[in-house]
Subunit: 343 residues, 2 copies
Amino acid sequence: MAPTTNNRVIFAAIPKDYPIPGETTVYDTTQTIDLDAVPLNGGFIIKTLVLSVDPYMRGRMRDPEIKSYSTPFKVGAPTTGYGIGVVVRSEHPDVAVGKYVYGGELPHQEYTVLSSAEGLVFLEKDPELPWTVYVGAAGMPGKTAFMGWKELAHAKKGETAFVTTGAGPVGSMVIQLAKRDGLRVIASAGSEEKVKYMKEIGADVVFNYKTTDTAEVLAREGPIDVYWDNVGGDILDAALEHSALYARFVICGMISGYNTGHTGIKNMHQTFSRSLSINGFIVSRLEPKYDTEFYATIPRALASGEIKYREDVSNGLETVGDAILRVQQGKNTGKAVVVVAEE
Amino acid sequence: MAPTTNNRVIFAAIPKDYPIPGETTVYDTTQTIDLDAVPLNGGFIIKTLVLSVDPYMRGRMRDPEIKSYSTPFKVGAPTTGYGIGVVVRSEHPDVAVGKYVYGGELPHQEYTVLSSAEGLVFLEKDPELPWTVYVGAAGMPGKTAFMGWKELAHAKKGETAFVTTGAGPVGSMVIQLAKRDGLRVIASAGSEEKVKYMKEIGADVVFNYKTTDTAEVLAREGPIDVYWDNVGGDILDAALEHSALYARFVICGMISGYNTGHTGIKNMHQTFSRSLSINGFIVSRLEPKYDTEFYATIPRALASGEIKYREDVSNGLETVGDAILRVQQGKNTGKAVVVVAEE
């Protein structure tokens, strides 16, 4: 068979602030692949079906000299991330053609030759869910909410939780888990449309942090027993100021600082005044403990509508760069997913 | 019997920064008390023997409108704090003359009439220890170290701990508890004399934070698994920067901010990058859990020399104001105690 295109998204340069399509990320159509002839050396080829675009990716677009929990993207190579593919040819004894794989390091390209299945999860799809959900509410962001909440919130019925980025894929799941546990939920997001969505999924007090002062809301509706932090900065400071005695702070992310630098937190002395417990986590470190429980319960709850989710789907690999930027700007409504190919 | 003097230390004004003797605290010699005639109404009189001077007292010298974990001092009334007294007259059925009491709210005056024994601890003195120790290594600061370490450090043999204010009454106890648990200990203090003392009590790496850059020491000797914070500010930031994966931060106090305001903490994003656990505490909230174990073990370990301590003792109630200032300036060498009267 003749070679087919193998289009890619290349990490072209380390961004100064926001990652601009055409500068930071470049869509490249120069490569081809011969699916029948390319040597596999005992490995297999996957065809990329969906790719996930997530806030943490900004942290990988850094000078490789700077250490962090994630490996840096390599300038000149494709960006990578969570995604789902289908095996189209295989020499690997454990990897059959037609199997679906979920991985956290899939290159942003149409086809990828892999030598090993290490780190991949083989998925069975719920017939009522599309594959896109398996990188969202049933994928990394859903796991982030589920596992972080289970491990660190120590939620008690009747308590008050404050959830930031409550309309996003992580925050919207946290709101619903908190409501299931019987908490009163205050939730914030950055647009009126997002505020409306948070109300729809059950948050008790909702507000737009861009037009309403977070500290004022928390002064009126708090103090808060659980704080779910996806933003950091001034909002973390306001949460510290309006925390209850023995409050738990679950530090999941700090998007306010990813592009323009982290601001100093002024209220850390509340940590001892109020005997606070502030815990950070990375979902991959909790997966071994909770993966079985997660896959056994959450996809079904999503398919039945018991837990709601929404997606912001764009089509075609060429939309990845724009999706990356929009997520950093908070312009996505729902989990950002790129459909690269139908099966 | 004729009335006797009942000299006092009065909280005269809320300080702008450091609490100045003669302005913030005023020694007052105008009062008298008739120990035989003063009505007790079923209560008792204690004669003050020793008073404790501690960093947290600065937090009580505030505008009473500002909420905090401690009650504010009242302008015009005596300052109060941890202390030990002996009962010299009693109408209370459970409080015999000659009993020794330990309390956290003793007024800074020679004699005090109390109506209730609530909140007081009746102490039996180890014959080899002076009473002063019972407000220090065998009192609140010792309990702070012992209970905070037991509850929050989750120390494992072979790990590295970093202890700030390591020559002070809390920090010096923490260093010794960490060494008993088999940790390697980095410790900082603010003078060469204090640095020498930290080495004497077993710290492995010691330095003067005023002349040596904390971040440089931690870059070379870290990363750190346990951080004991008594200071906050830039040193907390350096500890965050050089923390190990899954490090525990025990937030005990932040004296760097008490007099001149808290600086912003810039490295809080390490909380999720490294899955940190940052926990604050107030010793009084842990006493119900650990008091029995503490009194059963620590005074004996102090008397035998197994755990070392040192005191900075001044004599006479008139020295309280100066002791309060010196503690805020870090000029005390050892636990600051004022001996008000011999028995």
